[in-house]
Amino acid sequence: MKLITHNFLTSNIIKGVKNGYPLGILPAKVEVKDVEFNPAFITRMLPKVDWVALQKAAKECGYGEGLPDAIKDELMEDTDFLKKVHNALMEVEVIEGKLVCPESGREFPINNGVPNMLLNEDEV
């Protein structure tokens, strides 16, 4: 599971959970996979991404260094910054671990890089 995917995930499907975002990450196995850097892609995806959630997720996986708290417009031109974003967003992968709902504490397992978001009967 890449952090870009994590950025879209929520546990609001659980009965009683209002927001369920962002999900916490308890990583057990993290890998970094090489992905070709495409600055245009990053600059255009950034507006779609929740920055705070990304930063938090990156920190939880141990790759949060160098990611500022807020994005200023000038930073979008900075290739080094974009590369760091690219790394966090596209290259860091949680292979084994857990996602945690911020409201209920319910854990969703991640196996072989795929998060299991299926709920039990009573949670729907």
Partner: protein
């Protein structure tokens, strides 16, 4: 040099568009017939022809004769003339054809070498021998229709094979020929073509676990009309074949595939690894009726919805589709598109619930006949396989109603009944012809459409009586699912209201194997 491509029923229009665009040809230069698209090209364009995405197979056309030529002949004369025509020297010794054949031969030889046995010093010399060897070929024949029945396919193939090898000094090789000659005899035409590839172009070489055919996945991905980097979701991705095609063919997409089954996800992962798109396609395990995604988070949705044939779902089809559509609506951004592949029955429900679709009224009559809408659909289908709604709907409907024949619509009403029953009730065959489901469905749709001209048949009291009858019948049969009348009706209304939130953009009929299906494009306003 004439070429032709085969295309699945319904996809011919897309194939035409692609060929015209790729080779810059105007529409009259790209005629099409059922399942085929023809165009003029030259041997240098073969590489590009092989890149076409919407076609099944591509052929070099050797001979094309209208079947009318043979229509009134007796069998012996017909076969004689057929053989003479096919073996016409001029066609085979044509320079353009020769260059195409040479090209195919060299490609075949080349492939053999690459995959070939790496025998030490035998490399260069054997290459030389290969280039000078004779061309090998085999003939296959497909016959259908009245004319086709006069021919024994295998015999014809054999006869042509023998004569052709004498005429052209080629070798016959059944197992691994350089070229294959495909003869097709049917009531429209007799054609002889040489396929440009062994494996159909529609079978994508970057897919490991095949699902939907390449052309269909490509057409669906393209209908999304992605312009900027977009996040595309497939809530029932299965082996992720649609997303794989999008990831491979479209720039700047990031795809999320969701599926409930471990087995499917495993195949999807294999496809991602084989296709090398792990940077553009990610998987999650989840239920499409409860997507773990934030509201308005994705830029496009593409989905092959269950037809109820291969992969079944527990609840009724309408209730399932209602939840699915509701979730799709929730996670999709405004002004963005959903492209769905639906069964004939589901397409019917969509057509009759859409709010941009104006219910038509036949001049001189005040009631809405359920089948009337099908009338229009059928007329338009016949004219062009594509159905576009919107502002023009009222006008085009007006025109169509004049053409519509009242008798025509009667048969359609009963057809509608049958298809509705199939989609709403998972019933055992005995009860199939029971008229109730259609009325329930019509009743629900009528509420949804909020029209003030209503069919006099739909009165509440009559409906409840029939409902009780149905429940009673269902219970007495005993072996059918425990589907209550209320649930049915609710399922249909839920589906209608879920659908109404979308704007119905367009409709495309395609045939998948033996199944009629539709690609439906919806937009969230």
């Amino acid at each position: 040099m004439r070429f032709f491509c085969t295309a699945g029923r319904g996809t011919e229009i897309f194939a035409c568009q692609e060929v015209r665009k790729e080779f810059n040809l105007c529409s009259d230069l790209v005629p099409k017939s059922e399942g085929k698209v023809y165009f003029q090209g030259n041997v240098n364009q073969i590489e590009r022809i092989l890149q076409l995405k919407t076609v099944e197979r591509a052929f070099a056309l050797v001979l094309h004769v209208d079947s009318n030529k043979y229509k009134d002949l007796d069998r012996a004369t017909f076969l004689n003339n057929l053989r003479t025509d096919i073996l016409n020297e001029d066609s085979w010794k044509n320079e353009d054809l020769k260059s195409v054949i040479e090209y195919l031969k060299s490609r075949h030889g080349g492939i053999l070498q690459r995959e070939g046995i790496p025998e030490g010093g035998e490399g260069p010399p054997s290459k030389k021998i290969k280039q000078e060897r004779k061309l090998s070929f085999r003939v296959s024949c497909k016959c259908s229709g009245v004319l086709g029945r006069k021919v024994t396919a295998q015999l014809l193939a054999k006869q042509i094979g023998i004569k052709l090898s004498q005429l052209m000094r080629w070798n016959v090789n059944f197992k691994d020929p350089d070229i294959e000659i495909c003869i097709q005899v049917n009531d429209v035409h007799v054609s002889v073509g040489i396929p440009l590839t062994r494996v159909p172009l529609s079978k994508r070489d970057y897919v490991k676990c095949h699902g939907l055919r390449g052309p269909v996945t490509w057409i669906m991905s393209n209908l999304l009309e992605i312009k900027n980097p977009s996040v595309i979701l497939d809530p029932m991705c299965g082996k992720a074949t649609i997303l794989l095609e999008a990831a491979k063919q479209i720039e700047g997409v990031f795809c999320i595939g969701c599926d409930i089954s471990d087995d499917q996800l495993k195949s999807a992962q294999e496809n991602i690894d084989f296709g090398k798109v792990h940077d553009r396609l990610q998987l999650i395990k989840g239920d499409c009726r409860a997507l773990p995604l934030t509201n308005e988070s994705v830029d496009g949705i593409v989905c092959d919805t269950p037809f109820g044939k291969k992969y079944s779902v527990k609840e009724s089809s309408t209730a399932f589709h209602a939840s699915l559509l509701q979730e799709m609506y929730r996670v999709l951004k405004r002004n963005e598109t959903v492209v769905l592949l639906v069964s004939e029955e589901m397409h019917h429900c969509i057509k009759n619930a859409g709010n941009s679709f104006q219910p038509c009224v036949h001049p001189g009559q005040n009631q809405i006949i359920q089948g009337q809408e099908d009338c229009i659909q059928l007329n338009e289908d016949i004219e062009n396989h594509c159905f576009v709604l919107g502002d023009q709907s009222k006008q085009s409907l007006g025109i169509q109603t004049d053409k519509a024949n009242i008798n025509f619509s009667d048969t359609l009403v009963s057809d509608t009944k049958n298809s509705c029953e199939k989609s709403i009730l998972p019933l055992p065959p005995q009860i199939r012809t029971y008229p109730l489901p259609n009325e329930l469905y019509a009743h629900a749709t009528e509420k949804a459409l909020q029209s003030d001209t209503s069919s006099s048949d739909l009165k509440d009291s009559k409906l409840t009586d029939k409902c009780d009858e149905l429940t009673y019948s269902l219970k007495s049969i005993g072996n059918c699912e425990d589907v209550k009348c209320d649930d049915l009706e609710r399922g249909v209304t839920d589906l209608s209201s879920a659908l109404e939130q979308f704007k119905h953009v367009s409709d495309h009929y395609i045939k998948l194997g033996e199944t009629n299906s539709y690609i439906v494009v919806l937009k969230k306003p």
